[in-house]
């Protein structure tokens, strides 16, 4: 490692020199000394990938085991206790096989999630076992009741059922019991209160009935109830866990590394998360700032489009502040990391975010709204049935039995499955279409949207600049520009090179800092860079007013000279998407932090009439509030750091995967790929999902309308309860599967094209 360490001065003058990688943050050692590390792997799409990856890693010296999780796209590598773990070898081996991987650290939240998920699955297993075995006994009793079962045998079967049901319910019911107790302690009612009450009463009455040698016991109902409810709970959890895992992978692959100066002057590459305020980092041309920092030395022009939306680069020198996410065009900077609070812009963002997120959170999910109505109604009905039958002259025993039957039959099996089942299916459909959902209630809020507010830079336009129309540039000049561009790390040069992948690099290229690159092609001097460097300032001055939103790059070959326009182009399907949204009757708004001259042509091309330029973060919120005041919901789509508060304060929000970290964390959903189409798909699927959720709730209500009178009338035997419960649950689940339709052609944004190229840039 020491061979790669650089003295301070050399590091500053040799921008391209490699720095040592420090992975110790990601390594975990178990007590026996075995080291383990997780990687998020990109590009896995078939069974063969599993073998390829695992074989490649296991062939490495010291690697004891490699296991790829195909669901979460994570690879766990375990090293022998005696071997020195070398994560860089694993990364190299994967790169050689054609996969990109990132060191990954599972968050605490995710580990807790996994534990909960396993607990739910264990409960589900226990409840399923109990339900099946008790049903075996119950069916015998039911068929015996109409033929020739002896009371002794029936009692024996009931006692056996109790023997299975009581411990099983005590174990498998925990998730509901705990949540019900928590709710009661907080003096509120949730869905778990009627569930707990129903299960406990059913079990209690059944034991009492068994003691009295009665014909019916409800052990099977109680346990089957738990089984179905646990199923719904597990589905709900599985969806959130999966989206969280996906979000974790994204965070890992988006995690920037920083070149940090160590105390001894060495330069070490560490994850940006490991950089503390006060640390000094180096920033080279073509890199994004990993942290907010104060420039100590060096000058450069930085592109802050991801921070403020402004597309024009800004010149920074010692004493200026650079925000995380800014892209360095040229030059080398040495930064001292600063914490939020030392800078006004970040301060403003944080303050606005705090305010916005406390203002939100008032939204009550559909299922909770249903539960708040449902729980008191169920309890009131049961109580009324009890009192009614007592008044009608029934014995207390008979009246209690009927009240319990009401509680069991109304227990919200279908209600508990209605919403999560739809969410799981819809989230799966969206995931295939390239949209990752952050929160379960996103669907409900998305479905209420009637206004869509877009940010311009990085949202309507592509996050990276690209070369515009070059039809009026002579071919030899264009070819020379592409070949020269290959030699530079300047983002504008990279955009030119990317547009001409067939260009061959030149042998000798001289870089003039702050100006451009120069080489000799077929005996002629070729230059690429600023208009001044290429000697065509007059041409540039004439062109500038026509292209206010573009950066002009000049190219010279011998005596010929031309200008290339590099700009953040619209996403390829932006116009179609905007038209589609307008056709659906949505109001469209454009909010940009960029200059008027840059925003106006975009708004004109897309036909968006309501647009605002030069918006500060607080201005965006103000506009959203003025839109939201008399309207139900505003969907905010944005990617910049300056959009984060607006995303948090909008009814619902989306951001592209290329967004700033803070912004992506605020968004309710993230979409992958270069296309904007996922916005339309998300809205369409959300509407369908809400429709199905409502339909499911209606089915649950209809079921109750039939079942409750039967129960109140005293006609519900355990057999009827079992049929009704499983019947309604199955119908609701099948109905939820219909949420799969409607994704359709949307899957084009797909899993395969996305993050890769973008993150690399």
């Amino acid at each position: 490692m020491d061979a790669q360490a650089l003295p301070l001065s050399a590091a500053a003058s040799l921008p391209a020199s490699p720095a040592a990688q420090d992975y110790s943050l990601f390594l975990r050692r178990d007590p026996s000394g075995q080291a383990e590390m997780a990687f998020a792997v990109e590009g896995i799409d078939c069974a063969a990938c599993i073998d390829e990856i695992e074989d490649a890693c296991e062939a490495l010296p010291g690697v004891a085991r490699a296991r790829l999780n195909y669901t979460t796209h994570r690879l766990t590598i375990g090293w022998d206790a005696r071997a020195e773990p070398r994560p860089e070898d694993v990364l190299a081996a994967l790169a050689k096989t054609g996969y990109r991987a990132w060191p990954f650290e599972a968050g605490r939240l995710e580990e807790m999630d996994n534990a909960t998920s396993r607990h739910l699955l264990r409960c589900l297993g226990v409840a399923g076992f109990a339900a099946m075995n008790i049903m075996l006994l119950s069916v015998s009793v039911w068929s015996g009741n109409v033929t020739d079962i002896t009371p002794e045998t029936r009692d024996f079967f009931h006692w056996l059922s109790a023997l299975i049901a009581l411990p099983a319910a005590a174990y498998a019911g925990q998730p509901f019991f705990q949540s019900a107790v928590r709710a009661l302690k907080a003096h509120t009612l949730n869905m778990d209160v009627p569930i707990t009450l129903g299960v406990l009463l059913a079990l209690g009455v059944s034991v009492f009935e068994t003691l009295n040698h009665a014909e019916h016991a409800y052990f099977d109902s109680a346990v089957m109830l738990l089984f179905f409810l646990l199923g719904g709970r597990y589905l709900d959890h599985a969806m959130r866990r999966r989206t969280r895992a996906e979000a974790g992978n994204l965070a890992a692959l988006k995690a920037v590394s920083a070149n940090r100066f160590e105390a001894d002057g060495r330069l070490v590459t560490v994850p940006a998360a490991a950089v503390r305020p006060g640390d000094e980092v180096m920033l080279r041309a073509g890199e994004r700032a990993p942290v907010d920092g104060l420039v100590l030395s060096g000058t450069a022009s930085v592109d802050e489009s991801l921070v403020t939306g402004e597309t024009l680069p800004r010149r920074v020198a010692a004493g200026d502040t650079v925000h995380a996410g800014s892209l360095v065009h040229d030059g080398v900077l040495r930064l001292r990391t600063i914490a939020a609070g030392e800078d006004t812009f970040l301060d403003e963002i944080e303050r606005l975010l705090d305010k916005a997120s406390t203002a939100r959170g008032r939204y009550i999910r559909l299922a909770d709204r249903a539960a708040r109505l449902y729980a008191p109604m169920v309890h009131a009905t049961a109580l009324l049935a009890l009192i009614g039958w007592l008044i009608a002259g029934a014995s207390l025993h008979q009246a209690v039995l009927i009240a319990v039957a009401v509680l069991i039959i109304t227990c919200p099996c279908a209600l508990a499955l209605a919403v999560p089942a739809v969410q799981v299916v819809a989230a799966g459909t969206l995931m295939r279409a390239g949209v990752l959902i952050n929160a379960g209630d996103t669907f409900e809020r998305l479905a209420e949207v009637d206004t869509v507010a877009f940010d311009k830079t990085g949202t309507l336009t592509l996050p990276e600049p690209s070369l515009s129309d070059t039809s009026n540039v002579p071919a030899p000049l264009l070819a020379a520009a592409a070949r020269l561009a290959l030699a530079s790390t300047h983002p504008l040069a990279r955009a030119i090179a990317a547009a001409h992948p067939e260009a061959r690099p030149l042998a000798e290229v001289r870089e003039v800092p702050g100006a451009g690159v120069e080489a000799r092609i077929e005996g002629m001097t070729a230059r690429l860079g600023s208009p001044a460097f290429c000697g065509c300032e007059a041409l540039a001055a004439a062109r500038a007013p026509e292209a206010p939103d573009a950066s002009l790059v000049a190219v010279r070959l011998g005596d010929a000279c031309a200008l290339l326009e590099v700009r953040q182009a619209l996403r390829p399907d932006a116009a179609e998407v905007i038209d589609a949204l307008r056709a659906e009757g949505l109001r469209l708004v454009l909010l940009s932090g960029d200059r008027r001259e840059a925003v106006a042509p975009v708004a004109a091309r897309l036909g968006i009439k309501d647009w605002w330029a030069r918006m500060r973060p607080a201005d965006k919120i103000a506009v959203l509030e003025s839109l939201g005041a008399n309207r139900r919901g505003v969907l905010m789509v944005g990617d910049g750091l300056n959009d984060a508060p607006a995303l948090a304060s909008a009814h619902v929000s989306l951001s592209p995967i290329s967004a700033a970290d803070v912004t992506r964390a605020q968004a309710d959903a993230v979409f992958l790929g270069d296309r904007l189409a996922p916005v339309v798909v998300a809205l369409r699927i959300a509407r369908r999902a809400r429709h199905l959720m409502r339909q499911n709730l209606m089915i649950a209500v209809a079921y109750n309308l039939v079942a409750v009178p039967l129960a109140v009338a005293g006609h519900v035997t355990p057999l009827v309860a079992a049929l009704a419960m499983s019947g309604s649950s199955v119908i609701v689940t099948l109905n939820a599967l219909r949420a799969r339709q409607g994704g359709g052609d949307a899957a084009t944004g797909g899993r395969r094209s996305p993050a890769g190229e973008k993150v690399a840039a």
Binding site: C46, I50, N69, Y70, G125
Partner: protein
Amino acid sequence: MSVLLYLVPAALSLGLLGLAAFLWSLRAGQYDDLEGAAVRVLSDDDLHEDISDRNRHE
């Protein structure tokens, strides 16, 4: 009804066996990667090494 004396324990122990198998498989991590389990069946790992190599590169 003496048949119940061995049928009931038999049924219960079979059920318990199933439950134990489920809990074991859960603990062994078999539910951690359901999609992977579905595609791993296509893997050639169990074949002789050079055969599997040939197959993979076809």
